[in-house]
C-alpha cells in the first residue's frame, strides 16, 4: 500500500470523467422504466408491480397509464410479465429532478366502453390484439363479430335475451 500510494501520485487517476463524459450503462441495465409504442394498455404490469408504481386511470374515453419513477424500484417485473414488450427498462439513469411531479412516464389509450351499460371493457389496442389472436386460432364467430361492443355481463344478458327471443313462439 505504501508504495502504491507513492506511485499513484504519478499514475493516471482511476476517476471517470463523468458528468463531462458519458458513462453508459451496460446492456441489460435496469434503468428508467418507459412505455413503448407496443403497449396495448392491458394493465398486466400494474398488477405485478411490487410497489404499485404503475397506476391506471380511466377517464371518459381514455385510459392513462402512468409509471412513477419516484416509486419504481427498477425490478423488471413489469417487463418480464408484459406479453407485448410494451414496457421497457431502458439504459437511462440520469433521472435526477428538482420537481417531484416531473418524474413519470405515461401513455394514453382509447377505451372501448360497453354499449349496454357504459362500463370500461378494455382499450382499443388491447381489443385489436385479442381479435388478432382469436382470429389466428379461428375461434371468431362470423355471426357474432361485435366482441368489442359489450362487456361480459351485458353480453350474458344479450345472449340470454336472444335465447329467450328464439324460444318465444309456442
Amino acid at each position: 500500500m505504501e508504495l502504491e500510494a507513492l506511485f499513484s501520485l504519478f499514475k493516471k487517476p482511476f476517476t471517470v470523467k463523468y458528468p463531462f463524459e458519458p458513462s453508459p450503462a451496460p446492456e441489460g441495465f435496469r434503468g428508467r422504466t418507459e412505455f413503448t409504442d407496443e403497449c396495448v394498455g392491458c394493465g398486466a404490469c400494474a398488477a405485478v408491480c411490487p410497489p404499485k408504481a404503475i397506476t391506471i386511470v380511466d377517464e371518459k374515453k381514455t385510459r392513462t397509464m402512468r409509471i412513477d419513477h419516484g416509486l419504481c424500484i427498477f425490478c423488471r417485473s413489469c417487463q418480464d410479465i408484459c406479453p407485448w414488450e410494451g414496457i421497457n427498462l431502458t439504459q437511462k439513469f440520469e433521472m435526477a429532478t428538482l420537481n417531484r411531479a416531473e418524474s413519470y412516464d405515461e401513455i394514453e389509450h382509447d377505451l372501448i366502453l360497453c354499449q349496454g351499460c357504459g362500463k370500461v371493457i378494455t382499450t382499443r389496442r388491447h381489443m385489436e390484439e385479442i381479435r388478432k389472436k382469436i382470429e389466428k386460432v379461428g375461434l371468431l364467430d362470423k355471426d357474432r363479430n361485435n366482441i368489442e361492443s359489450y362487456c361480459i355481463s351485458c353480453k350474458k344478458d344479450q345472449f340470454a335475451r336472444e335465447a329467450i327471443e328464439a324460444s318465444q313462439p309456442i
Binding site: M1, E2, A5, L6, S8, L9, F14, T15
Partner: protein, 294 residues
C-alpha cells in the same frame, strides 16, 4: 535582514505571504492526498472556496457554550499568525523569540482544547481532553529538541539560528536525532495521521470543532492551516535552513513527506502516542541535547 517592521508584519513574511502560502499548502494537501489515493481530487483553490463559503454561512453559539467559545478561534488564529512574522525571511527578530514561538504554538493548541471544552458537547469535551493529553505527550521532546538546536546554534532567536546554519551548514547533519524527534512531532502538532487523535472524525466527529459553524469554523480551520505552514517552516528554519528560496522548496518537500505519512498510516490511540513520544522521541531528543551540551 529586517526591513521596515510594517512590511514584515503585513506583507513578507507576515499576513499576505502567510495567507498565500497557507492556501497553497492546503490546496497541495487536498490535491496530493487525492492523487495518492488514485483519484482526481478537488481543484487547487478548494480550501479558498471552503473558506469563503464558511464565512458566508450562518454561525450559532450553543446556549450552554462558555464565554471563550467565540474567542477561542480568534485567539488561536491571532496567536499562530505571530509566528511567521518572526521568520528569518525579512521578518522581525529579537533575542529569545524561539521561546515565544514555543509558547505561541501551544497557545493555538490550547485554544482548540478550550474551544472544545466550552462548546458544551461531550464530543467537544473528549476532543479537548485528547488535545491536552496530546500536548503533554509531545511537549517534552519538542522543548528538548528546540533547546538542543538553540544551544548548538548559540542563539535563542530564529534569525540567529538561521544565520548559524548559513555559516556552519544545516543543523540536520549535526543534530539528526533531535531532528527526527521534531519531525515526529509535526503530525501531532498539525493534526494529521497517525496523531490526529483529537480531531478523529470517525470517532468523535471532529472533536473540538464539533459545535463550531460558519465564520467561527472558518477561522478555526484557517488557524489550523496556518499552523501547518508555520510548523513546517519552523522545521526548515531549525534544521534545514540554507537560504530563503531553498526554504520554500524544502518546506514543500517536507509537506509532501508529511502528506505521504498521513496517507499511509492509521490513527493510533492516545496511550500509544504517549508511549511513542515519551519513550522513544524524548530519549532521542535528550541524546542530542546531551551531545550538544557536552
Amino acid at each position: 535582514m529586517s526591513l521596515n517592521p510594517l512590511i514584515s508584519i503585513f506583507i513578507i513574511p507576515g499576513l499576505l505571504f502567510t495567507s498565500v502560502m497557507t492556501f497553497l499548502y492546503a490546496g497541495m494537501y487536498r490535491k496530493v492526498r487525492a492523487r495518492m489515493q488514485n483519484r482526481r481530487g478537488p481543484p487547487f483553490l478548494q480550501p479558498f472556496y471552503d473558506f469563503v463559503k464558511l464565512l458566508s454561512k450562518d454561525s450559532v453559539r450553543p446556549e450552554k457554550a462558555g464565554a471563550l467559545f467565540t474567542w477561542a478561534p480568534i485567539i488561536a488564529l491571532a496567536s499562530i499568525l505571530v509566528v511567521p512574522m518572526l521568520f528569518p525571511v525579512w521578518g522581525l527578530s529579537f533575542a529569545g523569540d524561539v521561546i515565544v514561538v514555543i509558547y505561541v504554538l501551544n497557545m493555538s493548541s490550547i485554544m482548540l482544547a478550550v474551544g472544545g471544552f466550552s462548546s458544551a458537547s461531550p464530543f467537544g469535551a473528549v476532543g479537548g481532553s485528547r488535545e491536552v493529553t496530546q500536548l503533554f505527550a509531545y511537549e517534552l521532546p519538542l522543548a528538548i529538541s528546540i533547546v538542543a538546536v538553540a544551544v548548538r546554534a548559540g542563539s535563542f532567536s530564529l534569525t540567529g539560528i538561521a544565520e548559524a546554519q548559513e555559516v556552519h551548514g544545516m543543523l540536520f547533519y549535526q543534530l539528526p536525532f533531535a531532528c527526527i524527534a521534531f519531525l515526529s512531532i509535526v503530525p501531532a502538532k498539525i493534526g494529521l495521521q497517525p496523531f490526529d487523535i483529537p480531531e478523529a472524525e470517525q470517532e468523535i466527529l471532529g472533536g473540538p470543532l464539533v459545535e463550531y459553524s460558519g465564520y467561527r469554523l472558518a477561522i478555526f480551520t484557517l488557524s489550523n492551516q496556518v499552523k501547518v505552514f508555520t510548523v513546517i517552516s519552523l522545521v526548515v528554519i531549525l534544521f534545514f535552513w540554507q537560504n530563503w528560496w531553498m526554504f520554500l522548496i524544502t518546506g514543500g518537500l517536507l509537506w509532501l513527506l508529511f502528506i505521504f505519512i498521513k496517507v499511509i498510516s492509521a490513527r493510533v490511540k492516545t496511550e500509544q502516542s504517549f508511549v511513542f513520544f515519551w519513550k522513544y522521541m524524548a530519549v532521542l531528543a535528550v541524546i542530542d541535547l546531551v551531545r550538544v551540551v557536552i
